[in-house]
Subunit: 766 residues, 2 copies
């Protein structure tokens, strides 16, 4: 654990420079607006340790894979999130000396992420070699209202003597990825143009041919006699502004940027639209641009803030998580998805994992208009044919969605994951089920859902295999969610979700038969589905084999699980943890220890299908064997613990992800934030403490307050209604803010909500 930022409900603030932890601070201070994002890098030159990162949604590069031994089925490439042309850069010189915070004496440095307004601000005092001081203040934001626009204000004030100030706002396309397998550069120049009015830089990615234009304009306040010169270099355009500032006089540069891509514009329009965007921003001006941006964020917080009373660390933690989720994905483009690191780093190359469906979808479903979640589903629907190709590459029928993808093609290249972690398919169909039960949008099944259900069922039916001696269907050679087991047979979670997938497909089919018969007929004819094939699905779901441990009356994570040495995490020497940094891989594999929820993931997903005793027995068996070495692990356990009344356990597990990045728990936040696990942390509060469940077209709550807190509140969105849930030690208050009247169940009792009226429900006595 390492904390470089102070605790504050709305700010993430670094006091003083932390040269050795600069990458960590850069990750924490990331900004994003769904279209683009960046790490908290400095505008001016910096020769200290830094991971420069500017990312544009949907722009990737197919880096050549690196594997030890090629295996049939490996993809040719791994899609990398790309460090894009640097458009924040402002070269600064004071009296001819370049400002570089690694080389100048710096006083009173503060770098501040303002979560309420989505601003990154810095203030510091530079001391030159003559002991002269200069005050610097910077602000930047990525506009929430104009997704292609960014703006930066950079102010310098000599405190003691007049000074010559030179500022060079620039665009630089000569960028590299640290995460490039063979050290290649991924961008090439298409065009550049440099005037003192507007400058543009157009770069193109090799192979993928993504085109990005950045356009820049600026304005200057504080010196009317400044001079300006345009200067160009290789993949570089800049304007050098030279000013004279009196002592006490502030020189302020405002840099406006617009970034357009050929994902949104035709080849002819990319450049002109960037110029138009930046010119409009320049015209509107800093104050108005900022005001509309802040107003948009105000609405986001009004709709979705989570408050925690009596615990500022927890308050900051949950706000940071909600803030970063909204920075990463806005849901207006079904071609985009949520990368594990969002716009905050390069690692985990490809953008989409099953994290999206398993962890992020519930957040967006529960807090935003249903169209946002729907776009996440459409993303997968658009990739269906690629998933069919992917299954065929592995010798199977139907659709197998990739483990990691940008465009529907598989990017991952470890056989035990890529080829075997097939349970991901069910997370995608489960998302359909989850979406429909939240939204009641049954039409989606006819329009998009059944295609995906049909082809995934086809895959499962082909992948499962009949075992005649036992008269069951088995699924051999898989990796479950617990990636500390590879190539196992009959992973209970996989078998359970596969059978569920088949069952849900058949249920949906019955519904469509009644309500959309013609559409059903078309889909099935189009995809060549026969009655025999459907009959087989019924047989397989009924005869699926589910391993069981009689001795403990629990589901068996996989065949042979009880042959392992049965230890619990408590028996481990703390020095050996995390295991993945201390044990060889084979030792991890043959040990009993579990990386993240596996059987329990199934009990979380299919929560409504298991009784409480079953959940309790399995929780008490598996959680003590779980090392939670995935950031996605504690939330599922926390939620189940909450459901089972183990409140302190629920809180303890919640703490593990609540401030994962703010406190750099896993010692890897310098590479970027754990965006997808932030949704899990949100779920720990809302599902875990609040007890949110949705079934039978209704919201159910079972709230409690962790002992360490005075209370907490969150907002929920359900079928067009938004309502506040505020919980304290005495009870909870529900207040509807939007939409038609709604009945929700609290601790199993119906509560009727009407617009703006609060209802208070005391906690039932135990």
């Amino acid at each position: 654990m390492k904390r470089v930022c102070s605790v504050d409900p709305w700010l993430v603030q670094e006091d003083g420079l932390h040269p050795h932890d600069n990458r960590l601070a850069e990750s924490l201070m990331s900004l994003g607006n769904g279209h683009m994002g960046m790490r908290g890098n400095f505008e001016e030159d910096f020769s200290g340790d830094t991971l420069q990162g500017t990312y544009i949604a949907g722009i990737y590069y197919p880096d050549k894979t690196r594997v030890g031994w090629w295996k049939i089925g490996y993809p040719e490439y791994f899609a990398k999130v790309l460090n894009a042309p640097n458009f924040i850069g402002i070269g600064v010189k004071i009296n001819g000396r370049s400002v570089d915070l690694a080389k100048w004496q710096v006083e009173s440095f503060q770098r501040t992420l303002d979560m309420q307004r989505s601003l990154l601000q810095r203030s510091f005092i530079l001391v030159d070699e003559d002991d002269q001081r200069y005050e610097v203040f910077t602000t930047r934001f990525l506009s929430r209202t104009r997704r292609e626009v960014a703006a930066i204000q950079y102010s310098i004030k000599p405190l003691q003597q007049p000074a010559q100030i030179e500022m060079t706002p620039y665009l630089d396309g000569d960028v590299v990825n640290e995460d490039a397998n063979y050290g290649e550069k991924f961008w090439e120049l298409m065009d550049q143009s440099c005037t003192t009015d507007v400058s543009t830089l157009t770069m193109k990615t090799k192979k993928t041919g993504f085109v990005v234009t950045a356009a820049m304009r600026w304005s200057l306040q504080g010196d009317e006699d400044s001079t300006v010169a345009a200067n160009e270099g290789d993949k570089y355009v800049g304007n050098t502004l030279t000013c004279q500032a009196e002592a006490g006089q502030t020189i302020t540069l405002t840099k406006y940027i617009a970034v357009t891509t050929n994902r949104d514009w035709s080849a002819d329009d990319i450049g002109p639209m960037a110029v138009q965007g930046v010119s409009e921003a320049h015209e509107v001006g800093w104050e108005s641009l900022l005001a509309e941006h802040v107003a948009a964020w105000k609405q986001i917080w009004a709709d979705g803030d989570v408050t925690i009373a009596g615990d500022d660390e927890a308050q900051q933690g949950v706000r940071f998580n909600v803030f970063q989720l909204h920075q990463t994905y806005t849901g207006d483009d079904p071609r985009l998805n949520i990368g594990p690191k969002g716009f905050t780093g390069e690692k985990y190359g490809g953008s989409t994992y099953w994290d999206t469906e398993a962890y992020c979808l519930p957040f967006y479903l529960s807090t935003m208009d249903s169209s946002i979640a729907r776009n996440l589903l459409i993303y997968r629907h658009n990739h269906l044919e690629k998933a069919v190709e992917n299954a065929a590459k592995l010798g199977c029928r139907g659709a197998l969605y990739p483990m990691v993808t940008m465009n529907g093609e598989e990017c991952h290249n470890e056989w035990e994951i890529t080829f075997e972690e097939i349970h991901r398919n069910a997370a995608i169909t489960y998302a359909i089920f989850n979406y429909v039960r939240y939204t009641g949008d049954w039409q989606y099944l006819a329009d998009y859902g059944y295609d995906v259900l049909l082809e995934t069922s086809r895959y499962w039916a082909d992948r499962a295999q009949y075992q005649p001696q036992k008269d069951v269907y088995m699924i051999l050679g898989v990796t479950g969610p617990n990636e500390y087991e590879n190539n196992i047979n009959n992973n209970w979670y996989t078998n359970t979700m596969a059978a569920w997938n088949l069952r849900y497909t058949l249920e949906v089919r019955s519904y469509l038969e009644t309500h959309h018969a013609q559409r059903l007929h078309e889909i099935e004819q189009d995809r060549g589905l026969t009655a025999e094939e459907r009959q087989l699905w019924t047989v397989i779901k009924d005869k699926m084999y589910f391993p069981f441990i009689d001795e403990h009356n629990v589901f068996a994570q996989q065949d042979g699980f009880m042959d392992k040495e049965q230890l619990t995490v408590e028996e481990l020497d703390p020095k050996e943890r995390p295991l993945n940094q201390n044990w060889s891989w084979d030792r991890i594999l043959r040990s009993v220890f579990i990386k993240q929820a596996d059987v329990l993931q199934g009990l979380f997903f299919l929560n409504h299908e298991f009784d409480e005793d079953t959940k309790r027995r399995n929780f008490l068996f598996y959680e003590p064997r779980t090392v939670h070495e995935s950031s996605l692990s504690p939330c599922v356990h926390s939620i189940l613990a909450g459901e089972l009344g183990m409140e302190s356990k629920a809180y303890e597990l919640y703490l593990r992800t609540a401030r994962l990045d703010l406190d750099n728990y896993n010692n890897d936040t310098e590479d970027g934030l754990h965006i997808t696990s932030m949704a899990g942390s949100w779920m720990s509060i809302v599902y875990g403490f609040g007890g949110l469940r949705v079934h039978d077209d209704t919201v159910h709550l079972k709230p409690f307050v962790p002992k360490a807190w005075d209370g907490y509140s969150f907002k929920l969105m359900f079928r067009g209604r938004r309502f506040l849930v505020a919980v304290n030690q005495d009870g909870c208050e529900l207040r509807q803010e939007q939409g038609e009247p709604l009945t929700v169940y609290v601790h199993g009792e119906p509560v009727s909500l009407q617009n703006k009226e609060g209802v208070t429900i005391p906690h039932s006595q135990p």
Copy 2:
């Protein structure tokens, strides 16, 4: 299958150029003398497709590993067999035009490997643009009597008109490896010197610091008025000889080379010793040098030829195999071992696999003085401390020998092999057992063997794990010899060999207690072995779990084997074979199909411990499920089939490796020859058809003749006696050639041999 060379008992001959199969021919025409070797590359420039390869024993480079996802326990590097400085090169110009067989018109081309004399010869006619013809004849060899010396004769004769002939013998250090993970060059120049008398080039490998000096001298016949010029370039020294040749006059260049390394000489001596070596060779002259080389090979064939009557293809096949084994390893240097491709290619980087102990050792044990096999054992003994380090890296006590190594350190980097294919440890201890029963050298156990047995036993005892419910010891998470299963539990072969390893260690300990008590005490004190630890070994070997399939009364390859879909190879669509070129890896893993002997490897190794019915049942169960997609697979099955009286099956399996490279069966011989599998092919004849077994200090034979052959013969070496075994359809003849009288058992009956006297034993009637 592709055959570029004609069938001949002693020659491997390519008639006509095969530009598209040049790499294949180059592999087949490889030369070696234990100290160095090379592919059948041309001396003159060649712009066509070629894999240039000159290799010097024990010289390697630690190439940076390439993996998808780093796992704890992976080695930092992969030792690569290095393409060494090219010392065969002779630039040739005729009337000023460079000779390049890819560009000139070539007639009557022949490239011939003479196995009897270990020579590579070429003859061809060049036709120039004026339709003038020039006859070329080349011969080269790597001296069997002077391991650092090579010699080449290159003759050119203008057939029609006089011509200016220019020949430039040179040494070139600017070489690359095709198999370099990041395209690096591995050599740097230390020194070069060029005179028209003697020239030298000294190169050093980066990182490993191996130093190699090549020295060159030459003589010229046919033109007394030739001129000579020394010319140097970057990492290049050459002498250009310009001659005038009349029509019908032959110009012959003889190039002598000596290659020394810092493995054999001190830094100061490497250069002088190369000069001395080449000068002595030059002094002795081509004829004498060749004569002593040929005489040495004559003795090799006299001692170890295998003849096959009535099948020239088979005759050529077995001679090629015996020939290449002798070219690869001479057994005079315990720091060397047998790489899977010997001196014939770069692939499979590291030099030593368990192939050596499992397949090659029996060949050397049965045909050569026991000191040769002993050096193979000493090689592993020298690496014992590295094996202890290797086990510790994986979190285990004792010694785990590496999967692939050059210097005792692990080079391989696929977790499922590197960390899990631990059965290799038992192959190394089995080699000790095998060596001792062949040679009767019990002293070896006290001097070297027990150290290795103790530390490997310690490893097995730590790696096995007690399962209290079943009161057994299990070994979880392994890969057996059948690499088409990964991370399985209780591989029967591994468990069996582990228990055997423990048992043999305890047996050897009993022997040492009686005969070498003091030495035993020293070893155990040195290694801190306690009585408790030894007691545990006894418990583990007695309580080891051996999976069994009741239904078929056979050993189970692993836990859960019968849950797989039970198919046989006959049911496979031939178009899908080989599976490893057609199926995704996960599909291979979950299928029943077996790459190479696994349970049957155990029945082969511990042949004396199982009754014939057990072997038969297991053979009939497992062989039909085996796809033999390792070149090491068929021989073991062939031998077992022979033992079980399935003569045609034994012959069918033998055919799969007999001409593996000559007929390019696996379509990969262009990368190099399958040296280690050649020993398996030899075993198929001697163990399989001849029925050789050694136990109770005695040689046992049970020969039969495959129907396709008239007969065959081989020579055996046993405890200082060499004798011929000649088998035909009527019976077999044994004739001792060397050593004290010996009694061998043929079909269970004792046969007394005396020097030079033949004994004929008719085949018993069935």
